[in-house]
């Protein structure tokens, strides 16, 4: 396994040819190459241009997006988008940090319609809203459910 690269500078220096690093040269705020997986952090408001940039760089298939709740840290939520390239046979993870109060992220359904259900799931289970999503409603929980179960301040047993 390759040595981990922990900073944006190290990633830029050691992986100058990587298509995602080149495509996100202007947008990346942090980068990490750990356990053979490349993570590039972009600002929340830049996620749509970032997705368009990696898409035109050959990362054509959107696989997954999910959130991690880092309570009590701030920014509280980190979203991880996984995108794979059928041509390059490589995967890139785009990370987005979202603040805990009033979490809103632009929706990427305009770039990949497949993000639709995933964003609804995050809205349902984490309470993060996606601006511009065509139909942002609960998907797993009943429509009258209170709270967002995957948040860390939500007890595993639920409220009784």
């Amino acid at each position: 396994m390759a040595e981990p690269l922990l900073t944006l500078e190290a990633v830029r220096e050691n992986m100058p040819e990587n298509a995602a690093v080149v495509a996100l040269a202007d947008l990346a705020t942090k980068a990490k190459f750990d356990r053979n997986e490349l993570t590039i952090t972009v600002a929340a408001e830049n996620i749509v241009p970032a997705c368009q940039a990696v898409q035109s760089a050959g990362y054509n298939f959107f696989e997954d997006v999910t959130a991690v709740d880092w309570l009590p840290n701030e920014p509280r939520f980190v979203l991880a988008y996984h995108i794979v390239s059928h041509k390059l046979k490589e995967r890139v993870r785009l990370a987005v940090e979202v603040s805990g109060d009033d979490p809103v992220v632009p929706s990427i359904t305009g770039v990949w319609p497949s993000a639709n259900f995933y964003e609804r799931e995050i809205f349902d289970l984490f309470g993060i809203r996606f601006a511009g999503h065509p139909r942002l409603t609960r998907i797993m929980m009943p429509i009258d459910w209170e709270g967002h179960p995957l948040r860390k301040d939500y007890p595993v047993e639920g409220y009784r």
């Binding site: 356990r35 993570t39 995967r91 797993m140």
Partner: protein
Amino acid sequence: MTPTAAPDMLIPGVEDVVEDSARQHHGSDPAEDHTMVLNMGPQHPSTHGVLRLVLEIDGETVVSCAPDIGYLHTGIEKTCEAKFYQQVVPLTDRIDYLCPMTNNLTYCLAVEKLIGLEIPERAVYLRVLLNELTRIQSHLVWLGTHAMDIGALTVFLYCFREREEILRIFEAVAGQRMMTSYFRIGGLSMEPPIDFYKRVQNFLNIMPEKIREYENLLTGNPIWMGRLKGVGYLSPEDAIALGVTGPPLRASGVDWDLRRDMPFSGYEKFKFRVPVSNDGDVWARYTVRMEEMYESVKIAQQALDGIPEGPITADAPKIVLPGREQMKTQMESLIHHFKIVTEGFAVPAGQVYQAVESPRGEMGYYVVSDGTAKPYRVHMRNPSYATLQALETMCKGKLLADVVAVIGSIDIVLGEIDR
């Protein structure tokens, strides 16, 4: 019945769908339309689980189709956060109950990647062998139920006859037919029984002949062809845009198989062909899966022939439970055993995403560790969840009766959609 005639009789959610689709398709008020809303499921024999579809139909033609899911949501992702790493394995079986071994494999590979654990060759080969048997049995359930939905009832019994043999093999190795939980972080839970190899060999000997038998029952059948050909077309561009993976993606002409293109668990050592079709219809998905079964038999045969001698677990005493004998006779092993059982093992902080080609497509586990003995976050990317989004594209403008054929062809498992 017009949808607005008796609004209090409608199920929650339907009104939204009707209004949405009326805006999209006609730009008019639903009351002036001739469409009606049909509720399909959650208890419907051909929805393969508890899927509810809200269909808007104009005569026999589907105008819109909105899946309503979540009936099987059990909060597995939340439960994982409260368990030790090893205790998560039995939960993963229950996500996609038709391919338990694949779930086990994906999760174990993800955690092994987090720890940086190398597992021995013997375990790698056995994992590949069992994973391919799982693929065959999952495809057998798909074929049986899909054919039953279309009206060919006989095939179901033929398929379950062979599936039964695979489940017996699973029972022999793991003690369980369906919820196997056989894989461990660092290898396998125990050595397979002595007659395992002979039984698998016998099964692999007869299986290609049996697949031909199913094909004889279906492939040339005019009713089967009439119901499948040209139905539920999905273009390669739509398939990629909607996140479709696995056999439906390959049936749309996209040549992508994680086993070959991004190998995991030693798949680069095996020779096999990836069946692709350019037709993109239900028929193409049928042929792709049938050919995949032949290829799975080949991979399983190579794995069976190539199993080397050696241990089945990694040499990592702080992670892998010691053998019973060792635990009873060596003080150090007893201490390790006690510590692993009572407080688990700490996993270095970090995040990994491990993707595996499951029978239904790309199954990915995203595991985040904060350095403690319990996973901070486990997220499953399940193939059926994304494939379900493509249902409307495949059904829109087609006949209502074809919806059943299309649902059968995308081979969804609601357990993994709802988690």
